[in-house]
């Protein structure tokens, strides 16, 4: 199987090259036989990449240390689940994983469009095959997972302990699923540009793929935050690390696109802008990979650096050049068929929303790359860390949050003053009421006050929208409130699924604002010694050191401390934190020691304990952190993903016709014909 896998990788390279050439040629020459051959080659490439992947998994599971990749990232005593996930734990394997997802998406895109988009599809298949060709060439020539060592070591190096975490088993696949899905809308955009068919047709084809990308990126980013929180031990979930930023960038532009696509669908506007957003999202996904792989920027997440970064730089430059050329030569075809009529309209709100999304993406990219710029311009190395990103992005983020509530309240085309007054009255009251209550309770941190007041405003907007929709259904159809609510969402998944995503955003912002109330304490406790601390809610906690224990488990040597807490005198569950030293099958230490955080979680706050060191035999140095509302970060992420799932869930044609979906999707022709 391993040999079959190794050979399959090379065959896949050749077949993808064929798919690329004949698809483009078939499209250009109008030869159906070539187009069909290209489509079959896309399926064949997928099959060969699957075989190559199965081969690598076989090598990993059989501990075939004659392969450099297997020896570098696994060891004989590595738990089986992590031996499987080692597939994407190193450079070459993760590139093969990219190729696996990309070819799977390509095959799905070609298959689902086999009877649709006949003009676009040869170029879509050709573009996807070209991207696949790049990844397979990188794999075969630059970072081959099947590279053999000249000898067989008795054991491998093992896996970085920080990657031996359930979160890391599912976080990278989700992120990759999100990153790679940006390639499909990109391919459709390129196809639309080449064929000059830049109406709503290609948008309809890419909308669901953009949602797929957004959905997986949302899950991937949330899981990444969770992994950083439970594994790295620094007590937070987002440190504006370059690799974290790299995952956020395509999410930001992708989210902007999902909003602006509605403007083109409903009004035929923002055509150029939508192409730019689709292309930017793909380029930023590649840039993220470049940042992760190249090592040009230091990051806590860079587990797989190598020189293939230069390959990705080449891909970035080539993609950018081709796209700029195509857009520049097709500006006339990208002209809007309608115009913005008022700055106070839903369209304008979407424009502001896009401006802020892209502005935040720019500030994140700018801050991430500024150290390189500073060194190039001044020759001075600087650090751009969390204080910078917070200073720049918190105000922009709060503005965007406000727009989340404002957008749905403004009418399409032009809002009148009475309309605005009627729509805004209740949400504004909601925001002001929250602000007044918090001020009365003594909260004075202005960042948090603004965030919670806006949460009140946006939350009330969402509730008002549901209230009106459910009320309308109850009046018209005589339905019960719950049935009306369910049907409201089911009949209009895009709108109400979107509101559920917004509800997730409200929860996230509330949780983020909880960060300002965080308290850290550094303590050294001998066995039996205790310390009393006060949490942000004013509760009195007492932590007793139950002792330091040392033991071996699986593939690691563990030093653990147990703290017995009480809150206001009431006993709470034991909190344990560990230092772990991993070792190989001969008992030799692997990697630096790592931390296992002890967390006593609840919706109101997490009590977060890190064993930072042991003095003598029994004196534990610990950091105890009270982290308010962190639980809601995960809840908000899950709710956003759930909303995204509702939005992208296929709507049956019958229901679509009933709800006027077709009419919404084809406004351009009608408007153009006016």
């Amino acid at each position: 199987m391993i040999l079959v896998g190794e050979l399959s990788l090379w065959v896949a390279l050749l077949v993808s090259g064929w798919a690329c050439v004949v698809s483009f040629a078939g499209g250009a020459l109008g030869r159906d036989d070539l187009v069909a051959s290209g489509a079959r080659a896309v399926y064949a490439t997928w099959a060969f990449v699957v075989l190559a992947s199965l081969g690598l998994w076989t090598a990993l599971l059989t501990h075939d240390f004659s392969f450099r990749y297997v020896a570098s990232f696994t060891s004989a005593n590595l738990p089986r689940v992590y031996t499987l996930t080692a597939f994407w734990g190193g450079q070459a394997g993760s590139l093969l994983f990219w190729a696996l997802i990309l070819t799977s998406y390509s095959a799905i895109a070609v298959w689902t469009n086999r009877a649709r988009n006949r003009v676009l599809m040869p170029y879509v298949a050709g573009t996807l095959a070209a991207i696949t060709l790049f990844f397979l060439a990188t794999l075969c020539l630059g970072a081959n997972p099947y590279e053999r060592l000249g000898w067989i070591p008795p054991d491998g190096n093992g896996m970085n302990p920080q990657l031996q975490n359930p979160g890391m088993a599912i976080h990278p696949p989700n992120l990759y699923l999100g990153y790679v899905a940006t390639a499909v809308p990109f391919a459709f955009a390129i196809a639309a540009l080449i064929t000059r068919r830049l109406d709503a047709e290609w948008l309809a084809a890419v909308r669901r793929w953009s949602l797929v990308s957004w959905f997986f990126l949302t899950i991937g980013i949330t899981l990444g935050m969770w992994w950083a929180y439970v594994e790295l031990g620094w007590g937070g979930y987002w440190m504006w690390d370059p690799v974290e930023n790299a995952s956020l960038l395509p999410w930001l532009t992708g989210t902007a696109f999902l909003h602006s696509i509605m403007i083109q669908e409903k009004r035929g506007m923002l055509r150029k802008w939508n192409v730019v957003l689709v292309v930017s999202t793909f380029l930023l996904a590649i840039l993220g990979t470049f940042i992760t792989r190249s090592g040009v920027i230091n990051s806590v997440h860079s587990f797989a650096q190598s020189r293939v970064g230069t390959w990705f730089a080449g891909l970035l430059a080539l993609t950018l050049g081709v796209t700029v050329y195509l857009v520049a030569t097709r500006l006339k075809d990208l002209k809007s068929t309608a115009q913005l009529e008022s700055m106070a309209s839903r369209e304008a709100a979407f424009l502001y929303n896009n401006l802020l999304f892209v502005g935040i993406a720019f500030s994140v990219l700018w801050g991430t790359l500024f150290p390189i710029l500073s060194e190039a311009v001044r020759g001075t190395k600087i650090t751009v860390g969390a204080p910078f990103f917070n200073a720049v992005n918190v105000p922009l983020g709060l503005l965007l949050f406000a727009l989340t509530g404002i957008g749905p309240l403004i009418a399409w085309r032009r809002a009148s003053l009475p309309n605005l007054r009627r729509q805004f009255a209740v949400p504004v009251f909601g925001g002001v009421a929250v602000l007044a209550i918090l001020l009365a309770l003594g909260m004075r941190e202005w960042h948090a006050l603004v965030a919670y007041a806006l949460a009140g405003f946006v939350g009330t907007t969402i509730l008002q929208e549901f209230y009106k929709g459910i009320g309308a259904r109850m009046r018209i159809h005589g339905e019960h409130a719950i049935a009306a609510g369910m049907r409201l969402i089911a009949r209009n998944r895009r709108r109400y699924g979107g509101y559920i995503v917004h509800a997730g955003v409200v929860i996230l912002f509330c949780a983020f604002a909880g960060r300002v109330f965080r308290h850290d304490y550094d303590e050294t406790l001998r066995a039996g010694q205790s310390v009393s601390l006060t949490d942000p809610y004013g509760h009195r906690w007492r932590f007793v050191n139950s002792g330091v224990s040392v033991f071996d488990v699986l593939n690691r040597h563990v030093t653990a401390v147990s703290l017995k807490p009480t809150r206001d005198g009431k006993p709470m569950p034991l909190i344990e934190s560990e230092k772990r030293q991993h070792f190989d099958t001969r008992g030799a230490p692997l990697f630096e020691p790592s931390t296992a955080v002890g967390i006593l979680g609840s919706p109101s706050q997490d009590v977060y304990v890190v064993l930072t060191g042991v003095r003598g035999d029994d004196a534990a140095e610990v950091r105890i952190t009270f982290n308010p509302l962190v639980w809601w970060v995960w809840a908000g992420g899950v709710l956003m993903a759930f909303g995204g799932l509702i939005v992208m869930w296929p709507q049956a044609d019958r229901a679509r016709a009933r709800s006027g979906y077709h009419a919404v999707m084809q406004p351009e022709a009608s408007i153009a014909g006016d």
Partner: protein, 226 residues
């Protein structure tokens, strides 16, 4: 697609392949060792440079008293970058990465300077003098660094001005279009099923609706009810 377009696209693919081959050859040349990738002493974000610590020493001020509380000192440490090669500040690094020998030494320097009566800005300045600007977690707001802080807002402002200019440019065209055209074709599902009691401006209200629109609304509601 013209033949020229096709040739241009094919050339682009060929350039990519050639680039990849070239990079692959470079990579192959560099593979002289036959060892699995070796693990080195690392921080949370890459190789650890234990030799990067430089003492930051200042004589204590006369009759010096501690210039800040422990909480304020920890806050100050959040602004100083640990120089071990990680991406963390010294407070976070010393309380997280217990293998780091650099952050405890830098922390000891901060403690000494605080006890010597130095204020927060004076301590930061002392660290910058020894390590350079990179010791700060964010660039100081001076000179070229202003570009870092201002560029996002300048870009956003420019975007805003561009949008406003476009709208002003569009409006005369839009006014004539609006006068000539009816409401947007097809009532969005959202506004047939849910937003019924809102009357978007620019679109006729129920009382002002054209017969075609009323018929469409009626049909949509009837279908929805079925």
């Amino acid at each position: 697609m013209t033949r020229r377009d096709f040739i241009a696209a094919s050339s682009a693919v060929a350039v990519t392949a050639a680039f990849a081959r070239l990079a692959g050859a470079q990579k192959t040349d560099q593979k002289t060792d036959q060892q699995p990738d070796q693990q080195v002493r690392t921080t949370m974000s890459g190789p650890m440079d234990e030799g990067r610590y430089r003492p930051v020493l200042r004589p204590a001020k006369p009759n010096a008293m501690a210039s800040m509380t422990d909480v304020q000192r920890d806050e100050l440490e959040h602004g100083i970058h640990c120089m071990c090669g990680c991406t963390l500040d010294i407070y976070t690094c010393r309380t997280t990465d217990f293998t780091c020998p650099v952050s405890p030494s830098m922390h000891a320097d901060v403690v000494r300077l605080v006890a010597g009566g130095y204020s927060g800005p004076e301590i930061l300045a002392a660290f910058v003098l020894v390590y350079g600007e990179r010791v700060l977690m964010s660039p100081p707001r001076s000179g070229f660094n202003w570009a870092a802080y201002l560029a996002p807002f300048v870009a956003l402002g420019a975007g805003g001005i561009l949008v406003a200019a476009l709208v002003r440019h569009w409006r005369p065209v839009a006014a004539t279009t609006t006068a000539a055209s009816a409401s947007p074709p097809g009532l969005p599902a959202a506004e047939t099923s849910a937003g019924m009691n809102e009357a978007p401006a620019g679109r006729p209200t129920a009382a002002e609706a054209t017969p075609e629109e009323l018929a469409k609304l009626d049909a949509a509601l009837r279908d929805d009810r079925a």
